[in-house]
């Protein structure tokens, strides 16, 4: 079970609590976690990644275990603490604008 923390605008959109959980079969990566999030909350499609290229939106960041993982390859394994549910995978709206 993977723990994912969503920012307030996406919680509002998905009508969820701060933290959600998703199940991932196979390697736990950015791509597999986000695929699972979008399967469970299809209204989030396009808000984190481009529909077609799957590229992260420019002002969306991914943090975990006090590290900025935004620029990591999408198929790179996430930290073991995330894969085991000890630490959450954080989706962050970058500090920009007002």
């Amino acid at each position: 079970m993977i723990r994912v923390v969503l920012p307030p605008p996406l919680r509002l959109l998905a009508q969820t609590a701060t933290e959600i959980t998703v199940d991932v079969a196979g390697p736990v990566t950015q791509r597999s976690v986000l695929d699972a999030v979008e399967r469970r909350y299809p209204m989030l499609k396009g808000t984190l990644r481009d529909h077609d290229t799957q590229r992260r939106r420019p002002l969306v960041r991914f943090f975990a275990c006090e590290e900025d993982l935004s620029s990591e390859p999408p198929d790179a394994p996430l930290p073991n603490e995330v894969a085991t549910g000890k630490e959450p995978f954080l989706v962050i709206g970058a500090i920009a604008g007002g």
């Binding site: 920012p7 307030p8 605008p9 996406l10 509002l12 959109l13 209204m43 499609k45 396009g46 808000t47 984190l48 529909h51 077609d52 939106r57 002002l59 969306v60 709206g93 970058a94 920009a96 604008g97």
Partner: protein, 371 residues
């Protein structure tokens, strides 16, 4: 007696204001979609409980909620707006080629007869259509692929398609406006488009009378006269009586003819309204006075409407989608400001009252008259 529902989009959410036909006492619900920019929301004429919304922000992009119960509950529907084929380029501010990139939906226009069909005007300028109530969107690419497309340049607010008008007598005939390309018309349901900018004069482009390049801010039509259109251009208020084949300036005695909104009285096709803004570099009302100007002659002769509106130290703007009219008699006129006020008149504009004072900056106002 009919009820009135006013749909207000703001920089930080949506608000729904309702009243009976007297339009004196208002109930306010919201914020809906709190914190998101609501560029536009509009109800279907064929099913007023069907409301479409453009919800977006810079972080998470475009979302398109839909309500089937008059705004009580919302469902998030399709938000994939993909240009058809190779996107190509338009002109950037400096004239160099720039790739077409979808940014947001500026305007939503539901079909007049089918609640499941809806059009979206987007930035970078294109028109999309959904025939399944917003689940899937398909570009009507004949517009963007017009021969002049590579020449289109963005206005200060972006290269946005912000106005869509459907001819009530012939739904295959539509008009759109793009900042800063100009106005276009289709006769075949959006397959092919023709620039309709003859008579426009814009000193900020190399050829002031060019076929495209004009910063049209808004078009308006009375449903009984679909061949007559009114235009608030960047500067100049214009009209055409032949569906855009030729435009004539009708700014007349306006104190300034810069502005964004223009609309037509529901019961009087020659009665039109604008809110003059000081200039393109000073986006607030002229002389610190919030004045709606009304012409009962289809332009040229204008009178200032001031009763109930602030007449000193007022420096708000009224954006292009932020004025609307109801279908009652006398006609109700509504507009929202950058200061968060929504003003309403229930007497053709003779007097005004602020329905709400302190919303976030208002981006759009639409009115539904409910029987």
């Amino acid at each position: 007696m009919s009820d009135v529902r006013v749909l207000v989009g703001t920089k930080k959410g949506a608000f729904i204001l309702t009243a009976d036909g007297k339009r004196k006492s208002w109930d306010i619900s919201g914020p809906h979609f709190a914190g998101w920019e609501i560029y536009h929301m509009k109800g279907s004429p064929a099913d007023p409980n069907r409301i479409y919304v453009s919800q977006s922000n810079s972080w998470f992009g475009q979302v398109t909620p839909r309500s089937d119960d008059g705004g009580k509950t919302w469902t998030t529907v399709g938000n994939k707006f993909a240009y058809t084929g190779v996107a190509g380029t338009h002109a950037w501010y400096d004239g160099t080629p720039h790739p077409w990139e979808f940014k947001r939906v500026w305007h939503i226009e539901p079909s007049l007869g089918d609640p499941d069909t809806v059009y979206a005007g987007v930035e970078d300028a294109a028109i999309f259509r959904s025939t399944d109530a917003g689940q899937n969107w398909e570009e009507l690419s004949g517009l963007r692929k017009h021969d002049t497309g590579p020449k289109w340049q963005p206005g200060a607010g972006g290269l946005c398609l912000h106005t869509i008008l459907i001819d009530p007598s012939n739904p295959r005939r539509m008009f759109v406006a793009i900042s800063a390309a100009g106005a276009f018309r289709t006769e075949d349901g959006g397959e092919t488009w023709k620039p309709i900018n003859r008579g426009l004069h814009s000193q900020y482009i190399p050829d002031p009378s060019a076929e495209v390049g004009h910063c049209v801010h808004r078009l308006a039509m009375h449903r009984s006269r679909p061949n007559t259109l009114f235009m608030q251009k960047h500067w100049d208020v214009m009209r055409t009586d032949n569906s855009g084949d030729q435009w004539t300036e009708v700014s007349g005695n306006l104190p300034t003819d810069f502005g964004f909104v223009i609309d037509v009285n529901t019961n009087e096709p020659e009665t039109i309204y604008v809110v003059p803004i000081k200039s393109d570099s000073e986006h607030y009302v002229h002389e610190g006075k919030l004045r709606v100007f009304r012409s009962r002659s289809g332009g040229n002769e204008w009178e200032a409407l001031t009763k109930g509106l602030p007449q000193q130290d007022c420096y708000v703007n009224v954006l292009r989608d932020a004025m609307s009219v109801d279908s009652l008699d006398p006609c109700g006129i509504y507009f929202g400001t950058s200061g968060g006020q929504v003003y309403a008149s229930a007497d053709d504009g003779d007097s005004w009252t602020a329905i709400v004072h302190d919303l976030p900056p208002v981006l759009s106002v639409e009115v539904q008259t409910l029987s």
